[in-house]
Assembly symmetry: C2
Homo-oligomer: 344 residues x 2
Amino acid sequence: MPGRPKQAHSGKVTLADVATVAGVDRSVVSRVINDDPRLSVRQETRQRVLDTIERLGYRPNAAARSLRTARAYMFGLFIPDFANPVYAEIIKGAEQAANQLGYGLMTASSGGVRLGLQHYLDLLGQSRVDGLLFAGEESGHELERLRSASVPWLLVNRRIEGSRRYVVLDDERGSGLAVEHLAALGHRRIAHLAGPETADTARRRRAGYTAAMAAAGLRTGTRYTAHADYTPEGGAAAMRELLAVRPRPTAVFVANVASAVGALRTLHEAGLSVPGDMSVIAMHDMSLAGHLVPALTTVRMPLEGLGRRSLELLATTHPQDDITEVVAEPVEVVVRASTGPPTP
Amino acid sequence: MPGRPKQAHSGKVTLADVATVAGVDRSVVSRVINDDPRLSVRQETRQRVLDTIERLGYRPNAAARSLRTARAYMFGLFIPDFANPVYAEIIKGAEQAANQLGYGLMTASSGGVRLGLQHYLDLLGQSRVDGLLFAGEESGHELERLRSASVPWLLVNRRIEGSRRYVVLDDERGSGLAVEHLAALGHRRIAHLAGPETADTARRRRAGYTAAMAAAGLRTGTRYTAHADYTPEGGAAAMRELLAVRPRPTAVFVANVASAVGALRTLHEAGLSVPGDMSVIAMHDMSLAGHLVPALTTVRMPLEGLGRRSLELLATTHPQDDITEVVAEPVEVVVRASTGPPTP
DNA sequence: CTGAAAGCGCTTACAG
DNA sequence: CTGAAAGCGCTTACAG
């Protein structure tokens, strides 16, 4: 491109520049920056180095550092869908933790050009990331390929058979709170609109429901549980199943908000009032819940904490270590308009 | 950490390994990989190099390449909120384009630990990114700081005064389609529930509304436009204003879906039926629109194309070039249940 | 046409 | 206690 004005030398300041100006060796500058405990230097000299860095606006070059240390100072987070607010919160937590630890975070969805996992294997091969967080829907079979490569990776919000590296939420507890909320309102016939039987989160939510029902001395019976697929359409169909059961339940705990959207539609179409004829509570709080008609009561789970904790563990553990953690942060019911006492 | 089993050498294959096995010089391998046109080598040799790369599973080390070429092969995308589906689509498009061009994409929100822009300046200082896409809400004042650094950056979906580097959607055209849809249904009194007067997107949508109304020979009058702030609460209040106007409008074009959520609530509370008493159409299609009651008619804009095109332009233009592009991809009305003919 | 060699900007084991 | 030097894995101008 002839005639284009040549870009002025950006004057990138290097470590060598800092050393020259401060009158010390480059190694001293490096050690000051990295807080090397083996460096003993007069406080005065250290301060001079720090001042020089500040004055020249020096920033270590990430590529040089990575090449030398064989670390990318970058993690990857793999999610199925950016548009799902559940993942938005996980991303936020992971991003914060990464920044705090001096790492970058690359977030990618399955929608990428190269098929999801292959893309990540490429990143690993190029040493562009130091580890991977999987919040997506990769099959155990796919992830098997990662196991051979001795790469740090962690499952987020999900367990798969044979893996000892995951961080999950306390879905049992969240589900228990939902049931307790309904029971406290006076409901006795509480149904569960569950997720896919194959999904780990769905299984744990169902287990929490069953346990809480038992603890409250309430009967469950298999007909009071209908499985759906975490989508509005599936939720609508499952709600129709539950409405057909006699005696009809007076309340339902729905495994996720998307299913609850469909469930509310079914109830609306059936001419039933919420919560008059049926109370509805769903797992995971998100702003959409507040805008449904009626506004949906939910269980707020520490999704941001999940992202944060997952990244911290990825950064600070060895790839071979077992990690089987349940995020400890509190879980709570967010009461809106969709739950109330049963009509006598 | 004593006693920890030493990790087996991962056997990272380097360019030198490939050269040795293939029996050529490292520079030949490098040139084959990078398709250097100045390399003349027998087809047979080239194939041998390629085969060796394949067989050894060689992947170029990104850090070494970056250090040498002074390019990070990474772009940054800055968004205000991961949970907003509008940005989810932009991210998707940008991610695809980045992958296709051999770049990575770091997406970050203002929620990071370091205050948004400073975080990016750090990334730039460290040469971790080659350029920045701003889809966020940074003020012109903040962005002024970037102008001094001669860094490639681009505004996405927004213009600010004095900047000649942006990519936007055809909001005028989208708004025009909305008005045309309503006019075709027979509406004459069409109101506009606009966005913030200061927002560039809101101004362009309003301009599109005004122009289309004029083209259809319909009167607008300032009372038929109410400004809100792109939130459900603001939308609810603005809808109340519009309901007070006489003669009452029979249809409203809402500047975004969040405002429409509030507008629908106001209409519901006022006992008005949609679309019987009031047709509602909103800008930007998203799955939430299909789940509102009634399901919301929208204008689908090429958000993914916006992300894709922005990244392509960022990657292929010089920082000094003017970029003032409107994404050319088609815009269309997605008809759902919230629009219909006016009741006579 | 091909290959040897320099060098990008760091870190760190090691010599003094 | 301090600093010189090697080297991480590439790319590319240049010599042969």
